[in-house]
C-alpha cells in the first residue's frame, strides 16, 4: 500500500431535496443518499464498494465525478479539490476520471456507430489529429477485445458483452487514471461476466488504472478489489483491506451480508440473516442507522451514532461493539 493516494474523499455529503407543492415547490425534507463518507483510493488500486440497493453506492460514484453535484465535503484528485473548480477548470480533469455503466444497452447512443462513440471524447478534447483518429479507434477496440473491423456497426448489432467493451473503450479513450465502474457486470450473462471482469483486471495491470468498483456481488468484489468499503444507508460502516474484511468481518451488517452471500465455504461464519428492508433515507433511524435491524443492538446504539474508527492495519469499522476495544 505504498502507492500514493490518487483520490481522497472527505466527509462527502449528497442530500437530494424532496419537495412538494403545485406551483412553488416547498422543501419538505432531504433524501440523505450519501452522508459523510471518507476514503482514499491509491493509484492503480481498486476500492470495492458494496451495499444493498438504494444505499447510495451509485450516487457516491457519480458524485466523485461531479455528475451529481455533492452537497458538501471534499474530493481531492492528486491533491486538488475538484469541488472548488469551475466547469471550465474541470474539463481537463474530466479526461482523468471516467465511468463505466451497468446497463450496456442504455449506455450507448443507438444512433452512433461504435467508431463514433469511441471517437467522440477524442474529438471533444481534440487530443489526436484527425488522421490518427482511426488508428486510435482501432487500437482502443483491440485493447478491449473487439474486432476493429466492426467499427462501423451500430450498438444494436453487438451482443451485451461487446457493448460493454465499447463502453470501456470509450472510457479509456481519454487515457484516464481513475474509473468508476458502476456495477459493470451485473447486467451481463454469467459466462460473460468473467470475461469483462478479467478485461478490467488486465487493463488495470497494463494501464495502472484505479477503480471504484461498485457492486452488490461479494464474490466479484473479493476477486477484483484491494480494499472494500461496505455502505449502509449513505454511510460507510466498515472499510478494510480485502483479505481482512473477508477473513474477519467486524460490523454486524457486513457479517450478515457475508452470511447471506452464496458460494462461500462452509467454514464461513454463520451470521444472522437480515430481516426487514432498508429504512427510508429521508428519515434515517436515530443513533446507529443500522440499529433497528441489528441483531446485537444495545441501548447506546439507539442514541449515539458510532464513528468510523480505524482498528488494526487499515481495518475501520463504525460500531459501538468495537469502539470499546479501540
Amino acid at each position: 500500500m505504498s502507492a500514493y493516494k490518487l483520490i481522497e474523499v472527505r466527509d462527502l455529503v449528497k442530500y437530494f431535496p424532496v419537495t412538494s407543492g403545485v406551483i412553488r415547490a416547498r422543501k419538505i425534507g432531504d433524501v440523505q443518499a450519501v452522508d459523510g463518507v471518507s476514503f482514499d483510493i491509491a493509484a492503480g488500486h481498486t476500492m470495492g464498494l458494496v451495499g444493498e440497493s438504494g444505499c447510495g453506492k451509485s450516487t457516491l460514484g457519480r458524485a466523485l465525478l461531479r455528475l451529481i453535484e455533492p452537497t458538501s465535503g471534499s474530493i481531492r484528485y492528486q491533491g486538488q479539490d475538484i469541488l472548488r473548480l469551475s466547469g471550465r477548470q474541470m474539463r481537463p480533469l474530466r479526461r482523468k476520471m471516467q465511468i463505466i455503466f451497468q446497463d450496456p444497452f442504455a449506455s450507448l447512443n443507438p444512433r452512433m456507430t461504435a467508431a463514433r462513440i469511441i471517437s467522440e471524447p477524442l474529438e471533444v478534447h481534440n487530443i489526436i489529429s484527425v488522421a490518427e483518429r482511426n488508428l486510435e479507434i482501432e487500437r482502443l477496440m483491440s485493447m478491449v477485445g473487439l474486432d476493429p473491423s466492426h467499427a462501423g456497426r451500430y450498438p444494436h448489432e453487438f451482443s451485451s458483452g461487446q457493448r460493454q467493451r465499447i463502453g470501456i473503450a470509450r472510457a479509456l479513450a481519454l487515457q484516464p487514471s481513475f474509473i468508476v465502474a458502476d456495477e459493470p457486470i451485473s447486467a451481463l450473462d454469467v459466462s460473460i461476466q468473467a470475461q469483462i471482469l478479467n478485461l478490467l483486471v488486465d487493463l488495470q495491470m497494463e494501464l495502472g488504472l484505479a477503480y471504484l468498483f461498485i457492486s452488490h456481488d461479494l464474490n466479484v468484489v473479493r476477486y477484483i478489489s484491494h480494499e472494500v468499503a461496505v455502505m449502509y444507508l449513505g454511510r460507510i460502516v466498515e472499510r478494510a483491506p480485502v483479505e481482512s474484511l473477508f477473513a474477519k468481518p467486524r460490523h454486524p451488517y457486513t457479517q450478515a451480508l457475508l452470511a447471506a452471500a452464496p458460494g462461500f465455504g462452509k467454514d464461513q461464519r454463520q451470521g444472522p440473516v437480515l430481516e426487514g428492508d432498508l429504512p427510508s433515507p429521508m428519515n434515517p433511524p436515530t443513533g446507529c442507522r443500522f440499529h433497528p435491524r441489528c441483531p446485537c443492538a444495545m441501548g447506546v446504539c439507539r442514541h449515539h451514532d458510532p464513528l468510523l474508527e480505524e482498528m488494526a492495519n487499515g481495518h475501520a469499522v463504525a460500531c459501538h461493539l468495537w469502539s470499546a476495544y479501540v
Partner: protein, 368 residues
C-alpha cells in the same frame, strides 16, 4: 470437406454483411409493411394533386353551369352502342323530365383530349395558365364526380378543397411542433420551477373544452372576412389548442433521454451542452416526433372539416372538404345525389392513410 466449405461461406457472409445504419434498417422494415407503403403513396398522390389542382381540375373552382345542377357523374368511356373507339370519350346529357335526372343524348361523342385550354388559373399560385390536364370540347362536359347545386364540377372542387383541407394539417402541425418542441424542450431541459409553471399552464390549455373554444372564436369573426384570413386564423386557433399535448410529450422525452447513461457518459467526458443536445438528445427524439406528427395530422384535417361543416370555417365560394360536405347534410340530397359525398370519401381515405402510415412508421422506427 463440405463442412469446411460451408463454414468458409458463412464466415465470408458475415464479413461481407454491410453494416446497417438505423436509417437503412428503418427503410427495410417500412417497405415490408404494405398497408403503410400504400398509404404513403396515396398521400403523396393526394398532396401532389392538391398542389397542381388548377392544372388537373378540368374546371375552375367557381365555374357554374346553371343548366346542370346535381348532374350525375359522367363516366369516360371507350365504347357505346355504335361500337368501340380508339380514343376515350364522353356523352352529352340533356336535362330530362322533372328537376332531376339527365338523359344521355345518343350518338354524339365528345373525345377527351389532353392539355386543353379552359378556365384561367395560376399554377402553384404563380404561373398564369389556361391549360388543363384533360377536358372535352364545348358543349360537352366532363363531370367525373358529378356537380353540386350550382352545377359546379365536384371533382374540380374536391381538388381545390384538398388544397385547404390538406395544407391546414401541415401548417397547423408545423406551428404546433414549433411551439411544442420549444416549450417542451425548455421545460424538460431546465426542470424545476420553470418546468412546473409551463406544465401547469399547458394543463390549463388542455383542460379547455377545445372545440367549443374554437367554435366561439370562429363565431365572433365577422362574416365578411376574407377567406384566406379566416383560413390563417383557423390554423392559429387549432394550433393553439394542440401545442399543449405536444409540449408534454416532448418534455417527457427530453426528461427521459437526459437521464440515459450515454448522456451521462458524454457529460463525464466534458462534452458541451450544445453537442449533447444536438448529437445525443435530438436525434433520439426524431422517431417519436415523426410518428407523432403523422398520427396527429388527421386531427387538424378533421378540425377544419368540422368547422367548415358547421359553417364557421371556409366560406363559399371557396371550396374545402368540410364546406362541401355541408351541402350533403340532408337526407333528400344524400339519397338523390349520393355523389355529393365524394369529399367525405376523400376525408376518410386521407385520415385512414395517415393513421396507417403513422402505425407503419412507428413499427419501423421502434420495433420493440
Amino acid at each position: 470437406m463440405l463442412r469446411k466449405q460451408m463454414a468458409d461461406k458463412s464466415i465470408k457472409a458475415t464479413a461481407e454483411r454491410t453494416s446497417l445504419s438505423p436509417g437503412r434498417l428503418f427503410l427495410r422494415r417500412f417497405s415490408r409493411n404494405r398497408a403503410a407503403v400504400t398509404s404513403a403513396v396515396i398521400l403523396a398522390v393526394l398532396y401532389l394533386s392538391a398542389l397542381l389542382a388548377g392544372f388537373i381540375a378540368p374546371y375552375a373552382m367557381d365555374r357554374q353551369n346553371r343548366q346542370a345542377p346535381f348532374h350525375q357523374p359522367i363516366g369516360i368511356r371507350w365504347s357505346d352502342e355504335s361500337g368501340w373507339s380508339r380514343r376515350p370519350f364522353v356523352h352529352e346529357y340533356h336535362s330530362g323530365k322533372g328537376i332531376t335526372g339527365y338523359e344521355k343524348a345518343a350518338g354524339k361523342r365528345y373525345y377527351v383530349r389532353l392539355f386543353v385550354r379552359g378556365d384561367r388559373y395560376k399554377l402553384l399560385g404563380l404561373i398564369p395558365s389556361d391549360r388543363h390536364l384533360f377536358g372535352v370540347d364545348a358543349p360537352g362536359k366532363v363531370y367525373l364526380l358529378g356537380t353540386d347545386r350550382f352545377g359546379r364540377d365536384i371533382f374540380s372542387r374536391v381538388l381545390y378543397g384538398a388544397q385547404i383541407s390538406l395544407s391546414i394539417g401541415l401548417v397547423g402541425i408545423v406551428i404546433t411542433f414549433f411551439i411544442g418542441l420549444t416549450v417542451g424542450g425548455i421545460s424538460g431541459y431546465y426542470g424545476g420551477t420553470v418546468d412546473n409553471l409551463i406544465m401547469r399552464f399547458s394543463e390549463l390549455v388542455m383542460a379547455f373544452p377545445s372545440f367549443y373554444l374554437i367554435l366561439a372564436i370562429m363565431a365572433v369573426l365577422p362574416t365578411g372576412m376574407a377567406s384566406s384570413l379566416r383560413y390563417l386564423l383557423m390554423i392559429c386557433v387549432l394550433s393553439f389548442i394542440g401545442w399543449a399535448g405536444m409540449a408534454r410529450v416532448i418534455r417527457g422525452m427530453v426528461l427521459s433521454i437526459r437521464e440515459r447513461d450515454y448522456v451521462t457518459a458524454a457529460r463525464s467526458q466534458g462534452v458541451s451542452d450544445w453537442r449533447i443536445i444536438t448529437r445525443h438528445l435530438l436525434p433520439n427524439t426524431v422517431s417519436y416526433v415523426i410518428v407523432a406528427i403523422t398520427l396527429s395530422l388527421p386531427g387538424y384535417i378533421l378540425g377544419e372539416v368540422a368547422l367548415s361543416f358547421l359553417g364557421m370555417g371556409i366560406q363559399e365560394p371557396m371550396a374545402s372538404w368540410g364546406n362541401m360536405l355541408q351541402a350533403a347534410q340532408n337526407i333528400r340530397v344524400l339519397t338523390s345525389y349520393p355523389w355529393m359525398l365524394a369529399p367525405g370519401a376523400m376525408i376518410f381515405i386521407t385520415v385512414l392513410s395517415f393513421n396507417l402510415l403513422g402505425d407503419g412508421l412507428r413499427d419501423a422506427l421502434d420495433p420493440r
